[in-house]
Symmetry: C2
């Protein structure tokens, strides 16, 4: 069965003006994405930010739910936070996946924009079905999405979630949930 890891990228991402920024961590991103990832059997959820202060913040939030009173109050949340890891950049996330699994993951970007050469969902489904991927690391951008230099670093980019309207402004929390549900369906078929 294909192993799935996900990374939530805070740098390099775009702001609303298309400029390269480092975004701030959103507490609810960690909760919602950790819960969805655990529900779908994801092996690891990387919070990716080079900012030491933001790394400390993410670790402090996680510790509250793993070792602190949060975990005592809500053991389900503790289980979700168990898969959260904080890393400085995408390379470090790739290295950790390699170290865990013995396999270099296929590094796949996601985007709400139709990018040249993006892999359609139909094609991605066929490739998962044919067991082409032993292990994938899916990257999701915060703010207004992944910067091109992050996308260029990937092995491929998956086409936007098509929903049959001209409006496509999902929160990253919703996008992760939908992508994991689709992939789970492909793996079960």
């Amino acid at each position: 069965m294909m192993k799935v890891f996900i990374g939530l990228v805070h740098f390099p991402v775009l702001n609303r003006r298309g400029e390269r920024i480092c975004s701030a961590i959103t507490n609810l991103d960690i909760h919602d994405i950790a819960r969805a990832a655990t529900t779908y059997g994801v092996q690891g959820f990387f919070i990716i930010t080079p900012s030491r202060g933001q790394q400390d913040l993410a670790r402090r939030v996680s510790a509250h739910w793993i070792d602190g009173v949060g975990g005592q109050f809500n053991p389900d949340r503790k289980k979700a936070f168990d898969i959260v890891r904080v890393v400085a950049d995408v390379n470090q996330a790739v290295k950790e996946v390699e170290s865990d699994t013995g396999t270099r993951p296929a590094l796949l970007a996601t985007s709400a924009r139709e990018l040249p050469g993006c892999v359609s969902w139909e094609n991605f489904e066929k490739r998962v079905y044919k067991n082409e991927f032993k292990c994938i690391l899916l990257l999701f951008g915060t703010a207004s999405g992944l910067h091109q230099e992050c996308i260029d670093q990937c092995d491929g980019v998956i086409c936007p979630i098509c929903a049959g309207t001209d409006y496509n402004h999902l929160s990253v929390r919703s996008a992760v949930a939908i992508v994991l549900d689709r992939i789970s369906r492909f793996r079960r078929q």
Copy 2:
């Protein structure tokens, strides 16, 4: 094409001890669900709470993004909030859907728990495919989910989102996104 409406229920719902409560509105629920609903062409998103104070809060948040500086800053968010409506209870939501569409919607509950007689996703897909539903109003519970008296009021309840693990603790924001994506797929087939 089947019309889809959704309702986010704050009363009657369950707390962690299984008691009947009225939950507080979560700002990010409104944002995330309005964005997902607009992305998937949902016709209306009802915030359901009998509390006048909470209704006022939900309307104030919406007004900020529709008529206030929020909408000027972010026109995409304005479009998402355009489908938000605040009502006191499920009956009022049903009446508004009837008034909009001329059809009484099939009232469908969702649940993270396997309830007796719940409609499987496979069965639901077939029924959508056969155009059995002209219009549906999907109810999602906040806190620890819909109270039984709300479920009893519905025409049916859809089985939990199955993800192949024994962990099933999605946020309501994630659950709405996944359910809308699945239904969108059924409608396109």
